[in-house]
Amino acid sequence: MMILSGDGPRSKALSALLIVIVLVLALAPFLFPGAKPANVAANICISVLLVASYDLLLGYAGIVSFAHVMFFGIGAYGVAIALYGLGASWGALALGVLAAIPVSVVLALAIGLFSLRVQTIFFAMMTLAVAYAFNVLASQLSWLTGGEDGRSFQVPEILRPGFKLFEGDVFGVAISGRVLSYYLVFVVCALLFLVLLRIVNSPFGRVLQAIRENPFRAEALGYRIVFHRTLATCLSAAGATAAGALSALWLHYTGPDTALSFSIQIDVLVIVVIGGMGSMYGAIAGAAVFVLAQNYLQALMGKLSSAAADAGLPLLPGLFHPDRWLLWLGLMFILAVYFVPTGIVGRLRGRG
């Protein structure tokens, strides 16, 4: 339990689900060889980190931010700009990450100090506006960011698909740079997840929750609300930046659509709610369910759509068109907010 900071899943069903997810992710390159499963698995890992860092803010501190994707983008662009400009070296990668994190933290600090004194809703609007402006800025500064086209770049050699760690196969799978990349993503996400788990179970995390429950009481007890909330914002931003860096490293590409799009922000919000707000484990369960659904349900929707079209039904083909995936996601999201506010974690812990 030490590694889990004394905050276990506290439910057999939830433990079983988490163990399955983590084991499958750990063995993914061997269980499901191929490009698509690898993408899905890496996507889940990165989402877990991105969502867990968002939950620190939303679930634990009760702060609604729409700038989380901006911090994700800063990480992704940091890596992209460094590797694109300086060449595919580990030094450039380190520089990109080490430059991106302070940028995110300072920006988070500024936003936090500026708007956390007032209502939740004000912070939500501010972050939305700032994230939007950042998105516009990233598309405009094309000399730096590649504009709408983004930046494709090379990664250090041992992470490239062509690289082979051994001559032979391991359990029938060649250990390519792609597999190594996956394990880099997996290990960093797992470690940072455990760090976040430690943070929310520290005295700091408990103060955050006390502030969320009753700000006036917390203030009367002598906790500095703005300090704690701002620190949470900064930590959360750093987590998102790391996720963005990993995402860029995995994709070998960073552009507005993959790093800054508002739909990523929506996905994060949806995953937090589906998984269960205020529980780090919700990030794992939510991200796994969401990413799998995103990748495999769209195919199902396509089939339903053409079936409805063949049957000559009105409107339904349009509603089930794979591009309308967000429609069903939005409906699911609303229903989840109303009827399953504690998410998968809450349900499995029997408090649904």
């Binding site: 009760g62 609604v64 004000f122 506006a129 700032v130 939007y132 939005g330």
Partner: protein, 336 residues
């Protein structure tokens, strides 16, 4: 009994004029940089027109927030919806709108504005009852549910009207420009300005001269006391929500005609703009929203001419400057 007012100095009526002068100030500062008088006039009038359109969309949002503390992230969907409804009127009646008759042109335009307002008001009623009402007073859920509503609404618009941009030509007599001296003034901008000003005047009249308006202003400040005086603030609120949605739709039509095209993504983009405007104006203040809209639009136009790269982020910079000056916006509403 004279003891009550003995010693009580006549309280001075403080009218806070300074924020209202900021657009003028901005124009005065920008003028020398722009140089040419005709360009300045064109840019300023374009800014005013754009400001009036933004105001039309944003004013409902600020009242809805002021009255019930509800921040409707679905507001943008009503902007798009209004624009799509306008295509349903203007495109089939293209004969009227493209006829060489000012009367027919205006009639069809008014019909489109009316239809958009009515549909958006009605959908606003459903949206409020189904999504907003169950989560009164719960900010977190409110934000999430209205975002969910915005996503669903946007996707439904795509499903109903298709994902392509729909061209929406201006009525014939509103195309082109007047020439005033050396400055070209687009006719449509004048029309949009008139509609926006009418909306502002109407709101001011209702808020200051009718009992409903008094109730809204009182409710923005202290809704509990309004209830303790015997009024149902929830009924008042749904009315304001419907009116706000209708105005969003109206603004959506104006904006779509200005851009001469309709797409469901316009709502999300304009939502950000309306948020910025109501933050700058002071949440809950219609007058602040009016000044904020003009400021944002003027600066966007001036910046677009002077430093095009900065134009798209100019409103964020403006917001930061305003909030550094007045942390609760130009006209903070008392009681919140």
């Amino acid at each position: 009994m004279s003891v009550i007012d003995a010693g009580a100095a006549l309280p001075r009526q403080r009218i806070d004029i300074l924020p209202a002068l900021t657009p003028l100030l901005v124009a005065l500062v920008a003028a020398p940089f722009i140089g040419s008088a005709s360009t300045f006039v064109t840019l300023t009038l374009a800014g005013l027109a754009m400001g009036m359109m933004i105001f039309t969309m944003a004013s409902g949002l600020t009242l809805v927030f002021g009255l019930m503390d509800v921040l409707n992230f679905g507001h943008g969907a009503f902007i798009s919806l209004g624009a799509y409804v306008a295509t349903l009127v203007l495109l089939p009646l293209a004969g009227w709108s493209q006829a060489d008759s000012l009367g027919a042109n205006l009639a069809v335009l008014l019909l489109a504005l009316l239809a958009a307002s009515l549909v958006c008001g009605a959908v606003g009623f459903v949206f409020e009852r189904v999504l907003v009402k169950p989560v009164y007073g719960q900010h977190l859920k409110q934000i999430m549910v209205t975002i969910g509503g915005a996503i669903v609404a946007e996707q439904l618009l795509y499903a109903l009207f298709g994902p392509e941009f729909i061209p929406l030509p201006l009525p014939a007599s509103l195309r082109g420009s007047f020439i005033l001296g050396n400055a070209a003034i687009e006719k449509y901008r004048i029309a949009a300005t008139i509609v926006g000003l009418a909306v502002f005047a109407g709101q001011m009249l209702i808020l200051n001269r009718t009992k409903i308006g008094l109730l809204i202003r009182a409710g923005v400040e202290n809704r509990e006391m309004v209830e303790a005086l015997g009024y149902r603030i929830d009924r008042l609120f749904i009315g304001v929500f419907m009116a706000g949605s209708a105005l969003a739709g109206l603004g959506g039509v104006l904006w779509a005609l200005y851009r001469e095209q309709v797409h469901a993504s316009m709502g999300a983009e304009l939502l950000v703009l309306t948020f910025i405007v109501i933050i700058i104006g002071g949440l809950g203040s219609v007058g602040g929203c009016f000044i904020g809209s003009i400021l944002v639009a003027l600066i966007a136009n001036y910046a677009g001419f002077l430093v095009p790269k900065l134009a798209l982020v100019s409103n964020i910079l403006l917001m930061v400057v305003v909030l550094l000056w007045r942390p609760r916006g130009l006209y903070p509403v008392s009681g919140r």
